[in-house]
């Protein structure tokens, strides 16, 4: 399984903070994103925002980052702490 997390404005807009996905379905972040958009037609625009960030296992990652079973993938907007 892949564990997928959403934070902040993205979490509110999607209306969900996490979901699980069969790991066999996505070998990279890019594939995961496509599957999420295919499974949830309303998410296409939100998940294709260019400034959206992604972390794999709590490290900043990119579209080409490879995924494997047990990974935790998080999507979130640019950070605004401090």
């Amino acid at each position: 399984m892949l564990k997928v997390l959403f934070f902040a404005s993205l979490r509110e807009q999607l209306g969900i903070d996490q979901l699980g996905l069969e790991s066999a379905r996505a070998a990279t972040v890019a594939q995961l994103r496509e599957i999420l958009m295919a499974d949830h037609p309303g998410w296409a625009q939100l998940l294709s925002q260019p400034q959206l960030m992604v972390a794999v296992n709590q490290t900043i990652a990119g579209n080409q980052t490879a995924l494997q079973d047990g990974d935790e993938i998080a999507f979130f907007p640019p950070v605004t702490g401090g």
Partner: protein, 151 residues
Amino acid sequence: MIHIQQEDFDSGAELQALEASGPATGAVCSFTGLARDYGDKEGVSALFLEHYPGMTEAAIENILRDAHERWPLQGVRVIHRVGTLQPGERIVFVGVASSHRKEAFAACEFIMDYLKTGAPFWKKEITAQGEHWVEQKASDQSASQRWQKTP
């Protein structure tokens, strides 16, 4: 020393703990960030701070490791609050102890600049008209990028 917590903290005690770092410490610089009553909009009645438990702590540890590689530091303390905060409340504290003034100022500002752009926290402003998530500022991006030129 990194703490992420909902509760308020004693910034004065944090400062004085850094001042007591030992006889080689000649300089302590601290920064406190506070919730203002205006931000992207006027009339902010509260802030809501969200974070990514686990990744946030790891990101701050990385920032502190970078700071220790750049400057000789005798102590660093970072506290960041999450949850709902009223105007005037402390959000974040960064304190640094070093032998010399220049290093203490630089390391404290470096840590704050990277916290703003590299640690997963998100801020929502609540006003009488509704609530909105704060947008990342271009000035925060450029503040952290300037450290990439020369140490």
